[in-house]
């Protein structure tokens, strides 16, 4: 019995030492060497989000880098269209989240291929005030390889794509992810 206990003791001490050692070593073993920029790739997780400039309904130019690199804010990109019912479900959530995190995180709604007039009418009818960007020629939609609507992309303070969620998401999920990005 004593021999068995001794063997177990050796196994547990060895496992503890190796485990703790690996945790310590791997802290620096695979340093984050930085993402590689890409210009055209679908689902650009882990890489720098492709930069773009689009105009709001008021004609103001919005550039992604102004939020991430210049202001150090996480950004939520929501790709949507007025004809997409699941998109319409979550738009009030983005409205509320934008108000809650104004100045700390940016929420940008990127429309898919519709006219400024159609977007404007939709925004007025639904009381949407967060930045809705027109992408009439699909440049940014194609840049991000958007195939399904809605698609929501979470970008961290350094401009790296952290997560892509496809389909309707709840307000709680949006807030949860923003909090994680603010804490990271």
């Amino acid at each position: 019995m004593n021999r068995e206990r001794l063997e177990w003791g050796i196994i547990i001490v060895l496992a503890a030492l190796m485990g703790a050692g690996w945790i310590y070593v791997s802290r620096d073993a695979t340093p984050f060497t930085g993402p590689t920029p890409v210009t055209t790739a679908p689902y650009v997780l882990g890489n720098l989000a492709p930069d773009f400039t689009l105009t709001t309904l008021e004609g103001e130019e919005v550039t992604l880098r102004n939020f991430t690199n210049d202001s150090g804010q996480p950004v939520v990109l929501n790709f949507w269209a007025t004809w997409c019912p699941p998109c319409r479900v979550e738009m009030p959530y983005f409205e509320r989240v934008n108000a809650k995190y104004e100045g700390r995180a940016a929420v940008l709604g990127i429309n898919q291929a519709e006219s400024v007039e159609a977007i404007q009418e939709f925004a007025t009818r639904n009381g949407l005030t967060y930045p809705l960007l027109a992408d009439r020629d699909m440049k940014v939609n194609n840049l991000y390889g958007i195939l399904n609507l809605p698609t929501t992309i979470f970008i961290d303070k350094n401009g790296v794509v952290d997560e892509v969620l496809i389909g309707t998401i709840s307000q709680a999920v949006i807030e949860d992810r923003i909090e994680q990005l603010l804490d990271s």
Binding site: A15, S26, R27, T36, V44, L45, G46, V164, I169, Q171
Partner: protein
């Protein structure tokens, strides 16, 4: 890698499909494990189903409670959409509670039950890794190793594939530990499988890029795995030393 399967104009999100298949496979595996251990397969299957459902409901309810301010004016939001918004910790706690109380209700020995559930739990974790690989947020660290996979224009560690390999190795350990001539101690197969899986995850988590870190840069999942691995080994040592050992059966 493949977040959506588009069939004509209809798109199916991959991860939820993998989770549904994973649930079915895990229950099937538990059924087979119960038969291998010569237990009442029907009762163990019901227990596993209760565990799975409790885990799902618990994960959702915990998330809702943690974010109640987002749900209190939108109660329907608790039920839909369900494609995101779960708490892993809540799911595990509810599933563990369901296992414990169901086993007590049916007067089953908890260690025997855990021996039968172990391959189902590992199968579920394997499918979780697969869902993460196909459509989830996880991705590996940059690498130039030949088995690195091309993701989004750069070469990365296939960290979820490593996780799947760890899961398969754990299933192998469970299989060996449940050979008739080795079944001398209830709970041994569960504890050995858990220790091997936790140790493996401790190792491969180092190659994840968007990991969950402590403020001083340690991987949180590694620390959790470390605690589970040591806990399993300590319980194994304690049970081996103090529990009555059953005579092994002949194969």
């Amino acid at each position: 890698m493949l977040p959506y399967i588009n069939l004509g104009s209809i798109g199916f999100p991959t991860a939820p499909l993998v989770y549904i298949i994973g649930a079915w496979v895990s229950l099937y595996v538990v059924d087979r494990a119960a038969r291998r251990l010569e237990l009442d397969a029907e009762t163990i299957y019901s227990l596993a189903a209760a565990t799975l459902i409790s885990g799902f409901v618990g994960a959702r309810l915990t998330f809702v409670l943690l974010h109640w301010s987002s749900f209190d004016d939108n109660l329907l939001g608790i039920l839909w959409p369900l494609n995101s918004g779960y708490s892993g910790v809540g799911g595990v706690l509810f599933a563990a509670a369901a296992t414990y109380f169901y086993a007590r209700w049916k007067r089953l020995d908890l260690w025997t039950v855990l021996d039968a559930l172990a391959p189902g739990i590992i199968s579920w974790l394997i499918f979780t890794s697969l869902a993460d690989f196909l459509g989830g947020p996880g991705f590996g660290a940059l690498t130039s190793l030949p088995w690195g996979i091309e993701q989004y224009g750069v070469q990365r560690h296939p960290v979820q594939i490593y996780e799947i390999l760890v899961g398969l190795a754990s299933l192998g350990v469970w299989w060996l530990a449940t050979q008739p001539e080795r079944r001398s101690l209830d709970g041994r197969a569960f504890l050995m499988t858990t220790a091997v899986y936790a140790g493996g995850r401790l190792f491969v988590e180092a190659f994840r890029d968007n990991a969950w870190y402590t403020t001083n840069g340690l991987h949180v999942v590694q620390i959790i795995s470390f605690v589970i691995m040591l806990g399993s080994l300590l319980l194994l040592a304690w049970r081996s030393s103090y529990s009555p050992v059953k005579p092994a059966t002949e194969s």
